[in-house]
Symmetry: C2
Amino acid sequence: MIEKGVLIVLSGPSGVGKGTVRKELFSAENTAYEYSVSMTTRLPREGEVDGKDYFFKTREEFEALIERDKLLEYAEYVGNYYGTPVDYVRETLDNGKDVFLEIEVEGAKQVREKFPEGLFIFLAPPSLSELETRLVTRGTESDDVIRTRVEAARRELSMMNLYDYVVENDHVEHACERINAIVMAEHLKRERVEARYKKMLEVE
Amino acid sequence: MIEKGVLIVLSGPSGVGKGTVRKELFSAENTAYEYSVSMTTRLPREGEVDGKDYFFKTREEFEALIERDKLLEYAEYVGNYYGTPVDYVRETLDNGKDVFLEIEVEGAKQVREKFPEGLFIFLAPPSLSELETRLVTRGTESDDVIRTRVEAARRELSMMNLYDYVVENDHVEHACERINAIVMAEHLKRERVEARYKKMLEVE
């Protein structure tokens, strides 16, 4: 009677520190998340291990997987494909483990379409709440600087739309604490727990 | 620009340990919750302070409040009224503080009707997951014992319906940790955060 795992998708504007937060989460001794290894057509670098750092594929293999809808999301950067193999994700979830994806905003959009039941977390730069403070206090910044920041905030805000939660990356430890709380809460949702108990009583 | 607080409603079958969990939550030094003091028509006991242990009211006063819809929930036990004054709850939430209610299942039902945006947490007895283990292992219990437990589980399951989250009270510290995680996650929901930032940018 295994309860399905949660697909955790961490994304946010580039430069916000997604990789750092992910590394910190996985450095915890008791991390319960399974990291989803990406697939790529770029050549392995010195020391990189197939199946650990990436799944290394040829262009033909990768395009065959696209064709067969075997990627949860993919994109092409500087002539190489990068993507998330869907079979690994589904199998790991079915085994009751939470899968952790750390991907770009574009990729997260593709995942939301294919896997709407995922847990989508937007990592937000502290600039937003700093801006909030600045708008209230004022005086220290020129109007131009404020205007540029307001524009950036508007762009970031418009990206948040498809996410379930917003975590500010003010300190990496705080961000991790919040992400862990969100995942814990997800497992305690009534629909999940109830389904498990109902199944148990049906068996009876 | 104060963000509204969350109304946290902790309930569950009688005897599950709601009071113990609530006391443990409030014994934490840095608790961020405001405890909602109940109103009652019973006489104060030795040492009980009006406004701290209860708001003590006469029967006439209490019934006037019922009449004016000034109670979030109320019930009569052994000839005395007990209830939650709604004004205190609304004012505290408007001041950006989270209000904590620990009430019976019947009261929680009334609160859900009047305040559907509350955060409803069902405290479940560990008997449910113990039952799960027993159903799988078997052999140690007579069929009668199992049947009685299954019936109890069915009753508890049918109560869960109107709650957002289910927390098992296996250990009081674990239960508190889970409740704190649920409240933290609630504050990080995209709708909440987004609304705050949008308001900030509108002001601009």
